[in-house]
Amino acid sequence: MTDLDSLNALEADVLAQIAGAADEAALEAVRVAALGKKGSVSEKLKTLGAMSPEERKTFGPALNALRDRVAAALAERKAALADAALEARLASERLDVSLPVRESGLETGRIHPVSQVMDELTAIFSAMGFSVAEGPDIETDELNFTALNFPVGHPAREMHDTFFLPEKADGERLLLRTHTSPVQVRTMRSTQPPIRVICPGRTYRFDMDQTHTPMFHQVEGLVIDKEAHLGHLRWVLEEFLKTFFEVPSVELRFRPSFFPFTEPSMEVDVRCRKLPNEVRIGEGDDWLEILGCGMVHPNVLRNCGVDPDVYQGFAWGMGIDRIAMLKYGMPDLRDLFSADVRWLQHYGFRPLDFPTLAGGLSS
């Protein structure tokens, strides 16, 4: 016998069971008991077939609505149970995220300041159209001295305390280059002007004290063209120093000096402020000698097969270690070559700190 009251009672019973199901299995049992083939709601639905059309009109919608409400209640309860189960699982799945992870190589690796500064030099000068030229560390006397207008036996050679290799049977004595200038000679002898190169590299002098090491790094620049004069040299140096030290302006002071391979020759001081632990370039009232330069000596041009009445040019040179120390505040030259990991970690650069002009060099 089916009447609306009993349907209401059935619904209340089933919904109570759904609400009381403690877990998904219990809920499934409730579902089978209600909506399964022989479930209480299904059984009621089966009675529809035997009803008169009038009865069906009343009970059809009522039963179908009952079934839908039960199904919805089941789904809702199921979702709630799943949520509760997940919450319970998550509650048990705790990591101590304060446990340290290993640092990656990108964090611990370092580039040596000298390499970094060489990359900075390359970035600056390649933007001005300079290529990077290199040559051997073991040089001939001719390339290190004679071609550069150091006469044999001249006291000017004594400005360079030279390391020599053993004398050969034919009397030739190779040496460790005392400056990177032989690379200029090699470049001029192998390249047609116009020439714009920088020559960075290792150089050697017999000297060891607080401010000298027997090995150090130099960079020289060379411009050979039909028109290339001291004014251009001044501009190149100003632009370089400004860009390298990342300051808005620099003030240079040129002092006449002497190098056998340039004429006129000059030493260049830059205005700075000397503070206890750093030197600020571009401000202050002190002067710091920073590089040597000049117009390439006509004898050197001739020695390199360049006609000094057609071509002219200028060259400059400075210590890479020194400008690196100045820029990055490293106090002692000897530390650069001591391979002390603590020092390298402190003053070194991260692998992806690749200097570019677009990125502001070191920033």
Binding site: P100, R102, F130, G153, H229, S257, M295, F337, Q345
Partner: protein
């Protein structure tokens, strides 16, 4: 080069003060290195007059002095000096004065109950001498109350300049004054030097005896002055020499030293009584030696030039005189020498004998040949003035060489080289003041070079003269025109490789070191070097004697130093030059890494997440292959050859990295225990070394486009194989064989397991390979997959003797 301001002013008129002088010196290229100006710190010290000195009532060794300081009533000063006495003129310092020797500021004081209103100073306290006994005694006529410094010449600042080797003319005060006069801060004082008339012929003659060899002197002049009274030179001369740190000796010697610094003209004086016969200028003979004026005996050879008499060598020409014929207080007849020498020969002799005399310094740079005779006359006149006597005529050998150099000088050269537009007048004025003789009209000048400027030989030299005097500051920065193109590589392939290698290795957690290019002989030999042609003839230290054949010894030593400092786990690398011979092509660029302790690629030291393990050969292999991959080499193209690495590696735990059968890229592995023992270091140490020059040049390609991407629509599938194989067989062989079995469809082979132990026969190892197949045109059928699997098994078996594990 040192001189005092007053000395300079004898050659430079006008009122330029110290600051103007020093600023100008630096501006024209005579860089001021040091100025010692004591006038300031000594200005407060005045002349005092001790009127009365009484024993201190409470101390035996102290006196209470009444001192007149020229103003007010006499002051009471307590003094401990034994020589303090009534009537003495002394140096007085009032309270508040800073004592130079100690830097202490003098306070008003009371000494043993007696007030003291100042201090009487000793020479030591004033910083005038190192030692002193008692207080400084001033001359009786010293003006009371006036600063004392001018009385003893201490108000004369001493300037020290760096003279570059091209400017021998500025090794004399006169030449320095000429540069300053050219800069127009005064006028050069140039009194005419009158020849001294000889009263009699010089009794000693001189001759050159160079035989067939190259003459080492063009000119040698000699003159006798007889009847001199030698002794201490006059005050002005002593003071001048002392002001530049020269010790006065006696008048004759002081005159020669004075002219060396005043005029850059070295001279020598012989005591004529000690010279036997005539003088001969010749090469030394083997076995000859000389006891020189510095008290040392020098062994001479045929390359050196000497002045000899009948008794033998008496002077090393242009370098140093001999003791036997030196002048002393007893000298009555003096021979004065003024000569010219071969500059290169003087330099070589000085170097060989290790003598750094003021004469050598000037002769090797080039003295003014035209001043040889005037210099002799100047010396003669000074000796006659100071020591009296009578001069002989001059006798000479050779001739003064003349250098008639006239340079065609277009004024436009200044613009061309210096970028500075100047008028002819602006060029003429400084050149003329510097002693050049300038003629010509308009733009074209002819410039005659003075005899004292051996450094000037062409147009560029004249440009330098002009711009250094008129001011380099006038050169304005001019933008360098942009290049014709911004394109094109600015780095060579090896330079590019070096930077890539650096960043790659740093990204693997390694720290870049820069170590010396030289290592010890033992280190060089341990790493395949030690060739005699790569051993420095003059190493700076015994352990920095040979050019390095490898970067490993430097890094190993560095790792050990770090370990000794408490950092046992270091990962270091260096990219730099190694030397396999002395030719340019024998210099290679190596990229080398070293790991010590637990400094593995994934991290160093202990970590909660994984067990700690020492570094092994695979860490080094990983570093090397990472670098090669970033340098553009396919890791699969690199062959790993077992047992062929250089001897400094562990023979069983190392490999050679090759490209094809011929190209050796480098090696990696654990360092040989004997290597560690030879270097006196401890491990574990693993490392690798790549030679960046050995990498093949990338092929020139018309386009940078990459090959088309083939993304298959079909799913890749993976099949696992477990092989059992002899333990000696390289796992790499199995991988290669599996790949070779089906080149088209096998896209990768991973070795996911390696096992030996129970279940695997003794001497064998089980290797698990995962082979990935990428179908290209259609899904593979089971039969096809079976067929490929069978081929892989067969190929691996054929190549390595491996069997599928049952």
């Amino acid at each position: 080069m040192k001189f005092s301001l007053s000395w300079l002013k004898e050659h430079l008129s006008g009122g330029a003060d110290l600051v103007e002088v020093t600023d100008t010196l630096t501006r024209v290229g005579l860089e001021v290195e040091h100025v010692e100006d004591r006038a300031g710190e000594l200005s407060a010290f005045v002349v005092g007059h001790i009127l009365d000195a009484q024993r201190h009532p409470n101390a035996d060794k102290l006196q209470v002095c009444s001192v007149d300081i020229g103003k007010g009533a006499p002051l009471q000063v307590v003094c401990g000096a034994p020589n303090a006495r009534a009537g003495l003129k002394v140096v007085f310092a009032a309270p508040g004065t800073v004592i130079p020797s100690s830097g202490v500021k003098l306070g008003a004081s009371e000494i043993r109950g007696v007030a003291s209103g100042g201090m009487l100073c000793s020479a030591k306290e004033l910083g005038i001498s190192e030692e002193s006994e008692g207080i400084l005694e001033l001359p009786a006529d010293a003006p009371v109350g006036r600063p004392f410094a001018p009385l003893v010449g201490l108000d004369d600042p001493v300037i020290e300049i760096a003279v570059t080797p091209n400017r021998p003319d500025c090794l004399g005060v006169h030449g320095v004054a000429r540069d300053l006069a050219a800069a127009e801060i005064g006028e050069l004082i140039e009194p005419a030097i009158r020849p001294v008339r000889g009263a009699f012929p010089c009794p000693t003659s001189v001759r050159f005896e160079f035989g067939d060899t190259e003459p080492l002197s063009p000119f040698f002049a000699l003159r006798l002055v007889r009847g001199v009274r030698n002794g201490p030179s006059p005050d002005w001369l002593q003071r001048r020499l002392r002001s530049i740190g020269q010790k006065p000796i006696n008048a004759l010697v002081d005159v020669t030293n004075y002219l060396t610094f005043d005029r850059g003209r070295p001279l020598h004086v012989f005591d004529a009584a000690k010279v036997t016969g005539d003088l001969v200028v010749r090469r030394a003979r083997a076995g000859e030696s000389l006891l020189a004026l510095d008290g040392k005996t020098y062994a001479l050879d045929e390359s050196m030039c000497v002045i000899a008499d009948d008794a033998g060598v008496q002077s090393i020409a242009g370098v140093m005189g001999g003791a036997a014929t030196g002048c002393d207080e007893a000298t009555t007849d003096v021979l004065i020498e003024s000569a010219l020498w071969d500059a290169l020969n003087i330099a070589r002799t000085g170097r060989a004998l290790n003598v750094h005399s003021d004469a050598r310094h000037r002769f090797e740079r080039g003295v003014d040949p035209a001043f040889a005779l005037p210099g002799l006359d100047l010396a003669t006149a000074l000796i006659l003035e100071i020591c009296g006597g009578e001069a002989s005529e001059i006798t000479a050998a050779g001739e003064v060489p003349e250098r008639d150099l006239i340079i065609d000088f277009p004024v436009s050269e200044v613009k061309r080289l210096a970028g500075l537009g100047v008028a002819a007048a602006e060029v003429k004025a400084p050149l003329t003041l510097l002693g050049f003789w300038v003629t010509g009209q308009g733009d074209h000048l002819k410039v005659a070079v003075p005899s004292w400027r051996p450094d000037v030989s062409g147009k560029a030299d004249l440009v330098e003269e002009v711009v250094r005097i008129i001011g380099l500051d006038r050169v304005e920065a001019t933008p360098l025109p942009a290049g014709a193109s911004v394109g094109g590589a600015k780095l060579s392939p090896v330079q590019r490789r070096a930077r890539v290698a650096r960043r790659t290795l740093a990204a693997r957690g390694m720290v870049e070191a820069v170590t010396w290019s030289f290592v010890s002989k033992a280190q060089a030999e341990t790493f395949g070097g030690g060739k005699p042609e790569l051993a420095l003839a003059n190493p700076i230290a015994a352990d920095l004697s040979d050019m390095r054949p490898s970067l490993l010894p430097g890094l190993i030593a560095a790792a050990q130093r770090n370990a000794d400092r408490g950092l046992p786990d270091s990962a270091l690398f260096e990219v730099g030059q190694v030397f396999w011979g002395d030719r340019p092509e024998d210099q290679k660029i190596a990229a080398t890494g070293l790991r010590r302790g637990t400094a593995k690629a994934r991290g160093a030291g202990r970590h909660w997440g994984e067990a700690t393990a020492p570094v092994d050969a695979f860490d080094a292999k990983g570093d090397a292959l990472a670098a090669l991959a970033n340098l553009g080499l396919q890791p699969s193209a690199v062959q790993i050859v077992q047992g062929s690495a250089p001897a400094w590696f562990h023979p069983g735990r190392s490999g050679l990295l090759q490209l094809g059968p011929k190209v050796v890229l480098g090696a990696f592995g654990e360092l040989h225990p004997r290597t560690l023992a030879a270097l006196g270091v401890s491990g574990p140490l693993v490392g690798f070394e790549l030679i960046l020059d050995a990498l093949p040049q990338p092929k020139a390609k018309p386009t940078r486009a990459k090959p088309p991407f083939e993304g298959s629509a079909f799913q890749p599938l993976s099949r696992d194989f477990a092989f059992v194989v002899d333990r000696d067989v390289a796992a790499g062989e199995l991988i290669r064989a599996a790949q070779a079995a089906e080149r088209k469809l096998v896209t990768r082979v991973d070795l996911f397991d390696r096992y030996e132990g129970p279940g695997v026969p003794e001497g064998k190892v089980s290797l698990g390979l995962a082979v990935t197949l990428q179908p290209r045109e259609k899904t593979l059928t089971d039969a096809e997959i079976e067929e490929i699997s069978a081929r892989i098994v067969a190929q691996v078996a054929k190549a390595t003797g491996a069997t599928l594990r049952g």
